[in-house]
Symmetry: C2
Subunit: 190 residues, 2 copies
């Protein structure tokens, strides 16, 4: 059970974002910029970073949700997302994405652990300043989202079909409007 | 030296927020809602939570900056903020703030480590649902801000006077407009 009273039946972050719509809107606005806004990284690549960080933080709701979004963006016939969930950087990734996931995991552990060698490896594989910036910020942001979801003890559905449905929705419409229907609901919590 | 090219002379998070103004605006929007928006916690109390989490994450720029903001909000004649920086929850806090800092540190370590007993202790000291929600989200958010600042290897000034000046500015005008002057600067980075 969650640590605070939340609307029934809403999974993971959707509960507190609906109950507290001001911070919910700010969080969705940030997610939209980070995961869908202009970047040298594709939305698929950014969702994969989000998935990897959430998996390493063992945040079930976020890992399953962003894996589902990443699968839609990748048109994931080869099962890459599942391999990253299971094998992390041993998955069959290109060298740039592998180097970026290494940086993301350093950020996850402690920002100060990102080394010059980590950054040099990513640059050698084609990452520019903005790619490195966006990787660090996406990884950092999921250290927030994961803690928000788990620190409140929210509910993570067990059924893969639930995440597949959320993944289709988020990959299609993005984050900025993800909560609009409930935000317009006069019965929503204050 | 920072891991990416950043505008010279801008301390900590100000560098990447200026260089990447789209995410900078989303981050400042979130900070404004979390630290200055409606909440049962005063801005002083929320800045103290931000300070404590940043200190525990050993993020020098964020800890010094938000300590400076908290000092202004508290009108800190008794040195409470410095005691929290030095002694954490052994500082002379009221029971509610002590219980909230305990929750914030659990969130910092791993959201899943927040226990029912932690929440019950905060409730017994007067914390309601929204107080607990806001504490968890502020703590989670500073796990992001700290990692963004340190994961990019940004510069943290050594001089207390720099933080005092930033503290006065942020306590006065808030976060939403903190970057406006540079955002209007035609020479800003793309």
């Amino acid at each position: 059970m969650a640590h605070i009273d939340l609307p029934e039946g809403l999974p993971g972050i959707v509960g507190p974002m609906t109950a507290y719509p001001e911070s919910g809107a700010a969080l969705n606005g940030l997610a939209e910029v980070l995961l869908r806004g202009p970047s040298p990284l594709t939305p698929a690549e950014r969702e994969l970073i989000a998935t990897y960080v959430s998996r390493r933080n063992e945040c079930v709701f976020c890992a399953n949700t962003h894996a589902a979004v990443a699968r839609v963006h990748y048109g994931d016939a080869c099962g890459l997302v599942d391999q990253v969930l299971e094998r992390g950087t041993d998955a069959p990734l290109g060298e740039k994405m592998r180097a970026l996931l290494v940086i993301a995991d350093r950020v996850r552990q402690d920002g100060r652990s990102v080394s010059e060698a980590d950054v040099a490896r990513a640059r050698a594989a084609g990452a520019d300043d903005r790619t490195i910036h966006d990787t660090v910020l996406v990884a950092a942001a999921f250290c927030m989202f994961n803690r928000y979801v788990d620190g409140l003890g929210t509910w993570a559905p067990a059924e893969p079909a639930v995440y597949a449905q959320i993944g289709e929705m988020l990959a299609g419409t993005g984050y900025a409007r993800a909560l609009s229907p409930s935000a317009d609901d006069p019965e929503r919590r204050p």
